[in-house]
């Protein structure tokens, strides 16, 4: 549905500063009907990518195709302007027009857009869109008299009313309070899934990304770090950055001893077996990533098994739905998440098992940063 190839985008330097490379070689593909998320820390280029897709910014080089039609190509010197790309977009600020009523806001694409509808049809489609976001009874209300959550629904209805090819959402949930955010998360996903519309969603919140997406593209400093399903990205990170960004993890540095599916790394704890990517060669300095939920408490008899280590409990933190436990293994500190019924006390000696399929061996960080273009 959407094909992005080798996008590069720089912003001219302001106030005498150097030009700024916001996107460096971004390529990806989005399947028809998929809920696709651009995830990454603030400033990594998510909005810029989305704006390039929307046609509000133009890349320096690269190719953007939608449904087989070229929207931007630096090679062919072709730009389809934003208003001819037939998209729907919800902006971070919602951009609901305050001088219009709810109805006029939602009707705008059908009245002034390229896919105009005759008055009668326009009315029914607008009202249907408003019903869809449960704002049917608010049609005649002036837009400034709506709450934040309602404004967002208006923006959503406006983005969907003209049946766009692609729905773009730029951090739509970040201005809502926590509770509303949770309900809108499911509502948005259910809505776009029921319409079957391809959606590109931008967020910096990994919980949102994991709970809503079919595919996640993790970005950092204008580059793609990893692409995959939420499960892939969470359970098989390809870098320290991904592991760290997607949630808490124990990072144990070491040197790779054996590569491949049954890899082994030498660490301060001793040898750890795990899964390593094919690119890693023995001798490389690596980090073993183990999620706090991935560590098992083994019976004392297993103390000599594969990936089994003796540990002393240093701290227990009862958080309600989980218990956070800090342990010490030969001077290294690790964190575990346990179920709250576990009965363990501080100072106790335990044997911990790191199941090898839960130990992901990734290269230790190559320094790369977003910065001025030289």
């Amino acid at each position: 549905m959407l094909l992005i190839e080798k996008l590069v985008k720089s912003y001219p330097g302001q106030h005498g500063q150097d030009a700024m490379l916001a996107l460096r070689d971004i390529s990806f593909k989005v399947e028809e009907g998929s809920f696709f998320t651009l995830l990454g820390p603030s400033g990594c280029g998510k909005t810029t990518t989305l704006q390039c897709i929307a046609g509000l910014e133009h890349p320096d080089t690269g190719l953007i195709q939608m449904g087989g039609k070229t929207m931007f190509s630096s090679r062919e010197n072709l730009i389809v302007p934003a208003n001819r790309r037939e998209l729907g977009m919800v902006f971070q600020s919602y951009a609901v027009w305050p001088h219009m009523t709810v109805f006029e806001n939602v009707a705008f694409p059908l009245v002034y857009g390229i896919k105009r509808a005759p008055t009668q049809e326009m009315r029914t489609r607008v009202l249907k869109a408003l019903e869809m976001v449960e704002l049917g009874q608010f049609a005649d209300r002036p837009a400034p008299l709506l709450s934040g959550g309602q404004q967002q629904r208006v923006a959503l209805a406006r983005a969907l009313v003209h049946a766009p090819r692609l729905l773009l959402l730029d951090e739509p949930l970040s201005n809502l309070d926590a509770k509303l955010r949770d309900t809108m998360r499911t509502e948005i996903r259910n809505l776009v899934k029921s319409l079957g519309i391809t959606t590109i969603f931008v967020t910096h919140d990994q919980v949102e990304a994991v709970s809503m997406s079919d595919q996640i593209l993790l970005m950092r400093a204008g580059k793609i770090v990893q692409q995959g399903s939420p499960r892939d990205i969470y359970l098989s990170p390809n870098s320290v950055f991904t592991a760290d960004f997607m949630g808490r993890s124990n990072l144990i540095t070491g040197v790779l001893d054996r590569s491949g599916e049954t890899a082994r790394a030498h660490t301060a704890l001793g040898p750890i077996s795990g899964v390593a990517g094919p690119a890693l060669k023995p001798g490389a300095s690596v980090v073993v990533v183990v999620r706090p939920q991935g560590i098992r408490i083994a019976s004392t008899s297993e103390s000599s098994g594969l990936n089994c280590f003796k540990a002393r409990v240093q701290n227990m933190n009862f958080l309600g739905d989980v218990v956070e436990m800090q342990v010490d293994i030969q001077g290294s500190k690790l964190t575990l998440m346990l179920n709250p019924y576990t009965a363990i006390s501080v100072g106790q000696e335990l044997t911990l098992e790191f199941p090898p399929e839960r130990c992901v061996i990734v290269p230790s960080e190559v320094p790369s940063s977003c910065g001025p273009l030289k």
Binding site: A19, N77, A95, H99, Y112
Partner: protein, 574 residues
Amino acid sequence: MNGPTVTSNGRPGTGLDQQKLVQSLLLVVVSVLVLGPVLVLIRTSLAPSEAMPFETLDFTLKHYAQLLQSPRTISLMWNTVVYALSSMTIGVAIATAIAWCTERTDMPGRTIVRILMFAWMMVPALVIGFGWILLLNPGNGALNVLFRELFGYLQPILTIYSFWSLIIITSFAVVPTGFVMISGLLRNMDPNLELAARVHGGSSWATLTRVTLPVLTPGLFSIGIYMFMAVVQAFDLPLIIGLSADVPVLSTRVYLLSSPDNGLPNYGLAASFGVLLLVLAAGLMWAYMRAIRLGERFRVVTGKAYRPKRITLGLWRFAAIGFTFSYCAAMMLPLLILLWVSLLPHYSTPSLSAFGGLSFDTYRRLLTNPMISRAIGNTIILVISSATIVMLISCLIGWFTVRSNSRAGKILDALSFLPMAIPPIVLVLAILLLYLNTPLYGTIWILVLGHMTIYISFGVRTMSSALIQLHKELGDAALISGASWLTSLQKVTFPLVWPQILNGWLWVFAHSARDLTVPLMLMTTSNIVAASTLWNLWQFPDLPGAAALAMLLMTALLAVVVPSQLYVSSRLER
């Protein structure tokens, strides 16, 4: 750089056409408006006086030599600087005192003072000048006559025709503008600074001199430079008072050289004086920009809305009221005498015996005069077209300066700012030289052209500061919805800043109506407007007629501008 080549923003493509087209059009219009006159001015100052600038290829520095060798040039410069500096200092001092009283103290009558100040900004300086002449001329000025009768003085005690009178009247005339700027400054100042000084035991006076004034200094300084610049460029008061007082300044010199009472105009010399004035004004502009930038660095503005605690004046309030009232009286007097004169068939000083003869005959006479009707019609065309065209162009240029970071956007920004540094009298001289032999000359449209050029920098500034506060995504949302660029502007962007557009429109409207420089320099029998007719009646002399026309002009202006502005500001505050 080993990355990709950074191409310019404006890559050719389908559909950027609308923007491109409008942008090129604006570039052409603004260049013709602004660059054309400046180039012609410089060319004329370098051309021999025997020929029109376009008809010769010769270059000569003769005019500059004449200008530099003449001892009068020094005295002209001296007059101009003394005039501007004194008027500015007195004006800013009065404005600061009144603004402080209305913004910071519990002086009674603050709202009335504020409303009066806004209203006076609309009153043409020309009208105030005429009023003062009627009050203070040495022969039969009303105040002089009054004093003579009361105290038996034979000599007039005050005369309008002196350098000091010119300075004082000019400074009174700039106070309202200064007041509006300074009260804005005071309103943005953090009251906690003052409060802190009070808490630590400072008296009111010490707080004022040690804290309030120093904190305000950068802001006051840039306002001072702005006022100085305004007075250097001023033309009407130096014309009606300064020339009789034998105090020529640069602006009146340019006028006399290009429209002498007898003899041929010396455009070459006029143009070289114009260039001199241009350089002076541009230097001031530069200083002003520097001062603003420095001021930003010292800024102590909270930006939050707050209710400052007002200082209790106690017995001092009588001094404050006395001072403010004196100023207000000094502003009312010239208007009252004009009203008086306009109600009499022949000029006579105010007295009880003349009361019986008051009538509206003069007004009736004016309104049935075909010349006057034509002038009024022309004025309406002039002010409405100038205000509308200026704001239309300004909205579009404002959009480009804020939203587009292309080179063309920057050029538009710079070009539209340039007229700020060109004194109107110089600009009109240049327009005269440029269009003298075209059919445009002698029509009302050449006046529109002049006002467009003069007021476009104000319009663009107004619109770019309005648009910069508007979230970019509002316009983007319209584009994404499929609307064309112009539709997005028309349906979303501009409707959202309409109060600022209307405010700018009113400002240009009022300034276009009160301006004398352009109509006078470009006057023919067919393009007279209210301001130039006023001047003609005064010169004729038909004092009751002039006074009645002045009252009509003023009433019309106030009736349009004040209610609309009150409406706009109530909408803006919501």
